[in-house]
């Protein structure tokens, strides 16, 4: 049908099927036709699926051939120490590299970050020094021209942040003028690398095509920017960068011989278009987490239409999904080795949220949700994409069972509580990184890593001195009156006072970082796939929450004697008597945890944020729990100096003595409303203690998830493994190329962890039968 282009869009009746362009034929019309509104498109057109997995098919021969090529490459990469090769000459942009292929003949979904698979690109805008260091530590030399350009001519995000830090006297600790961040109180901050954690609505590329997106962006810009004040000038400038990025995206796709100026016509194009949208993002940015959002129901709309029309069969559809997932498994960023301490195993957090429930009570589970989970069977387990099930007790039973079955088999899934997040974010949100919920295309966050809260507690006990080198970190912390046996009331009071000092510094630091990032390393492509006016979160984090809780509990319920050195710094603690430990579903101690996170949140809120972002908090450590532990002295809970923290919000190892569910119940008490950026919990169990038969294991896991999330829990990583398997994998890594385990908020190939991290994972509580 030919629509008359002369008639203005306003006078055209909105819902007239005859006027639909070919790409939209047989879709149900709605608001999504008139404005950019993917959510409306999904709601009007998707088909919930309540059946089981019996329709799924195995990988096609084409997929198997490609996967074989990839497996060889991955092996080579591992043998070379984790990095296959680096392009040291070409700063990566959306259009910087020629098209790359695995095997042009067999690939159904195309596109690589660089000309060759697993060739890592440099992205110096975050900070050139880190790029140089990363190249050198893998035996490469950064091209001198690039170094010169970014060191002398182009200011990077990292340069900008340190310019501001340098003249910010408060940031220095009084005695030695060392940076506050060097004391390890706040670490992992994105002040020398890309911040990430932004999710573009890549579906927009498929549904609307680039030309329409450009047109709408211009209209939106004129609508929201009327008066040229500072806010609007910036918005206008950013929008212009976004428009350029969109045009670049078209150019990039054209280099693969594909025209994405128009909407995708079928399933294959829809997947290809949205993958291009994502590819542009990971060519432009190398932020810590580059997540994908929520695409299962969206793709499924195209799949259902094509299956009905007979354009593709199930096997071809699965092939597109498999090939797409293979591409996501190949995403790489260039990181220096130190980065590995905080984010072990080379993660990219291509997080894909799956399932969940709609606001209208229809499940958002589709056959394509199953198809994504099925990639773990067709291709074997893998950490990426970071498949995240949005769980609700109201999900269809068959889906719950399948998800649990895949989880038990692969240890590659994480589960998050849809019932908790939907009220805040609606039913079209995705997960950035591990546990951070954001409405797709409408919300973004300023990532803020985490602070070491046990260290702050120790500062309160030690007159503001660092517990390891005795150096004065913060002035004006009084000597405790009850210095022999710690007094709960006094310690709590001093700790909360110091929390105020910490929160102020934390917010200020974050303001500096994100101001600079916006100016010097703006995510033009990802933000182009957002509404122009977005809601911003500023995400703060706590590491070591269970140590703080147990320490306060020990001081309250037992007798804790600090053993101090000459400078009055407590180097050890003697504990007389017993105290209730976090992880045993004991209100006496769990309430302390609730109070601490509430206090932390409220204190942060006292300090205004850059661009009016909303404060949020996460209880998430990634794998930094090991390095945090190493740099923290003995704590009043009995933890010895250097011992790793528990990951995320987990209770400390071996202190949860009342079984797995008691441990879950304790964590579930930590309220999501104070930790809207997520509460990570990692649960490891041996197959035999989860149940005797496969059916029982699936059923028990389902019960566990239903129970935990009804209790208000937010997130659960599930590992179903034997300790012996991990021990064997440490000895013979070559035997376990695909062995995947969940750590705090993501999954890793076990063999890619450092020895220390592997040992920590093994020592962590494995819930076993008695």
């Amino acid at each position: 049908m030919s629509a008359k282009p002369k008639s203005p869009p306003k006078s055209r009746p909105a819902h007239q099927p005859t006027s639909l362009p070919k790409a939209y034929q047989s879709f149900k019309p709605g608001h999504w036709l008139n404005t950019i509104n993917v959510h409306d498109f999904i709601q009007k057109n998707y088909t919930p699926y309540k059946g089981n997995e019996s329709f799924l098919v195995g990988p096609t021969r084409r997929t198997q051939k490609i996967w074989k090529i990839v497996k060889k490459l991955l092996k080579k990469e591992f043998k070379k120490g984790g990095v296959l090769s680096i392009d040291t000459k070409t700063p990566s942009t959306i259009t910087s590299h020629k098209p790359g292929y695995l095997n042009k003949k067999y690939e159904s979904i195309v596109g690589l970050q660089t000309d060759y698979p697993l060739l890592r690109a440099i992205k110096p805008k975050g900070g050139i020094r880190l790029v140089k260091k990363a190249c050198e530590s893998y035996g490469y030399k950064l091209d001198p021209k690039v170094w010169e350009l970014y060191n002398e001519q182009i200011k990077t995000h990292n340069d900008a942040v340190f310019d501001v830090y340098l003249n910010w006297d408060q940031l220095f600790t009084p005695e030695k003028n060392t940076l506050f961040r060097k004391k390890g109180i706040i670490t992992g901050l994105p002040d020398n690398y890309g911040r990430g954690r932004i999710i573009g609505d890549y579906r927009r590329v498929a549904l609307y095509g680039i030309d329409r997106l450009i047109e709408e962006k211009k209209l939106e810009l004129n609508r929201v920017c009327d008066y040229m004040n500072e806010v609007n000038i910036r918005l206008r400038e950013e929008a212009m960068q976004q428009l350029i990025a969109l045009k670049d995206l078209k150019t990039m796709a054209a280099s693969y011989g594909l025209d994405i100026s128009q909407p995708a016509q079928d399933t294959k194009e829809a997947i290809q278009w949205l993958y291009f949208g994502y590819l542009g993002a990971v060519k432009e940015q190398d932020g810590a987490a580059m997540s994908f959002g929520r695409i299962d129901a969206f793709i499924d709309v195209y799949v259902e239409r094509d299956l009905k029309k007979g354009i593709y069969d199930e096997s071809e559809i699965q092939q597109f999904v498999d090939d797409f997932v293979i591409k996501l498994r190949l995403v790489r960023h260039l990181r220096p080795p130190e980065y590995n301490e905080l984010f072990a195993g080379d993660p990219t957090w291509v997080t894909c949220a799956l399932g969940g429930m709609g606001k209208d009570k229809r499940p958002l589970v589709t056959k394509t949700t199953f198809r994504f989970l099925h990639t773990l069977e067709n291709l074997g387990p893998a950490p990426e994409p970071n498949l995240t099930i949005l769980w609700s007790q109201n999900l269809p039973e068959a889906f719950k069972n399948y998800a649990c079955q895949v989880s038990v088999k692969s240890s590659s899934l994480q589960f998050e509580n849809d019932e908790l997040m939907r009220p805040y974010h609606g039913d079209d949100y995705g997960i950035a990184c591990c546990v951070s919920a954001m409405t797709i295309g409408k919300q973004m966050q300023f990532f803020g890593a985490r602070c070491n809260l046990p260290k702050v507690l120790l500062l309160a006990l030690n007159e503001g001195r660092d517990e390891i080198d005795d150096e004065l970190v913060v002035e004006g912390v009084p000597k405790l009156r009850y210095n022999k046996v710690l007094d709960y009331k006094e310690v709590r009071g001093e700790f909360f006072k110091l929390m105020d000092w910490l929160c102020k510094k934390y917010v200020e630091t974050m303001n500096i970082i994100h101001y600079c990032h916006d100016h010097y390393d703006y995510e033009a492509e990802q933000m182009a796939l957002h509404d122009l006016l977005v809601h911003r979160f500023m995400a703060f984090g706590i590491a070591g929450i269970s140590i703080v809780i147990d320490s306060l509990s020990a001081i309250k319920y037992a007798k804790v004697y600090p053993i101090r050195n000459k400078k009055g710094v407590a180097k050890k603690f003697k504990i007389i008597g017993e105290y209730p430990a976090f992880g045993n579903d004991d209100d006496r101690v769990d309430k302390i945890g609730v109070e601490v996170i509430q206090k932390f949140m409220k204190t942060l809120q006292k300090y205004p944020t850059y661009r009016g972002a909303e404060h949020t908090v996460s209880l998430l450590t990634i794998t930094a729990n090991v390095v945090y532990g190493r740099h923290t002295g003995a704590t009043p809970d009995g933890r010895v100096a250097g011992e790793p923290f528990a990951p995320g919000a987990n209770p400390m190892h071996n202190r949860d003595k009342s079984g797995a569910l008691a441990s879950l119940n304790s964590v579930a008490k930590l309220k999501y409303e104070y930790c809207r950026d997520g509460i990570s919990n990692t649960f490891s169990i041996t197959p035999s203690s989860l149940g005797k038969t496969e059916e029982q294991r699936t059923g028990n896991l389902r019960g566990m998830l239903d129970g935990y999330f009804q209790k208000g829990g937010h997130h659960l990583n599930v590992n179903v493994l034997y300790r012996e398997t991990l021990q064997d994998a440490m000895k013979h890594p070559e035997k376990y190329p695909q062995l995947t385990i969940r750590v705090s908020g993501y999954a890793v190939h076990f063999i890619k962890l450092t020895k220390e991290q592997q040992e920590e994972v093994i020592s962590r509580t494995f819930h076993k039968d008695f």
Binding site: Q393, D585, S658, G659, A660, L661, A662, N665, S688, S689, L690, G691, K692, T693, Q696, G699, N700, R702, G703, M704, D706, G707, Y708, Q710, K711, H767, D769, F770
Partner: protein, 255 residues
């Protein structure tokens, strides 16, 4: 029965050794397992020997115990589980178990008792019947001499009680420990089959002997008399499983 039992029954305090909030082995689905103190038997292979002596326990009322269990209801309701009282042997504290089970049923929590069924007091069984959703009974040995040697008590009341429960249409699961040289003999297995034919039950679970509880004997300074007996081979366990399956029973081998 000891004096202390009588005393505690009158004040209705349960003697509780410990809990497991994530029980996947003691009954259907996910279960909260309550281990009660005290046992009338002295099995040579006991793997909870630390629950036999009457000193190491907490006392609490049925209401107090329920309060501990209730927070776990969302878990076992989804996984079709519930509460299991085990031990020790809960048959030592029947009135406490009855009161506790009543409260569970009021709160729609499935109840299971894991017991040897060694009691001569029919009244206790009578009271337990309406409040117990599932009985898991361990069958030890069918030769009374061997039963005495293995457990210290006669098997007569046990077998009689099982018949009684079967007649009263109680839902029954059996557990049978495969102890090489003792319970896996041809004659004992024949006696097992003969006995099973006379009762109505849902399934039988085979538990291969293991030595995981051995360390507790050493810790308590008790002599472990089954030294030298190795766990049965998987093959021999499967043979017993097949034999029982041929009889038409539902059999689970707990590998």
């Amino acid at each position: 029965m000891s004096i202390s039992t009588i005393k505690n029954q009158s004040s209705l305090l349960g003697r509780i050794h410990s809990f497991e909030s994530f029980g996947t082995l003691d009954g259907p689905g996910l279960r909260f397992v309550v281990f009660l103190e005290g046992c009338p038997l002295r099995c040579l292979y006991c793997h909870n020997v630390d629950m036999l002596d009457m000193k190491n326990y907490k006392e609490m009322t049925p209401q107090e115990l329920l309060k501990i269990v209730l927070p776990y209801k969302p878990y076992f309701n989804s996984a079709k589980g519930g509460v299991t009282v085990s031990g020790g042997d809960p048959i030592m504290q029947p009135r406490f178990v009855v009161e506790f089970f009543k409260l569970c049923q009021k709160n729609k929590i499935h109840t299971t008792i894991d017991t040897s069924c060694f009691t001569t007091n029919k009244e206790h069984l009578e009271q337990l019947l309406p409040v117990t959703d599932l009985w898991m009974i361990s069958l030890k040995h069918f030769d009374d001499k061997k039963h005495r040697a293995l457990t210290g008590v006669t098997n007569a009341p046990i077998l009689e009680n099982i018949h009684y429960l079967s007649k009263r249409k109680a839902r029954l699961w059996f557990r049978y420990l495969i102890l090489p040289g003792w319970t896996d003999t041809w004659s004992n297995l024949r006696a097992l089959c003969a006995f099973l034919r006379t009762v109505d039950f849902e399934l039988i679970e085979l538990l291969p002997y293991h030595t995981h509880g051995r360390f507790k004997w050493d810790k308590l300074g008790l002599p472990y008399k089954l030294n030298g007996i190795k766990p049965p081979t998987l093959n021999s366990c499967h043979k017993i499983k097949e034999m029982l399956k041929k009889e038409g029973y539902k059999v689970i081998l707990n590998e």
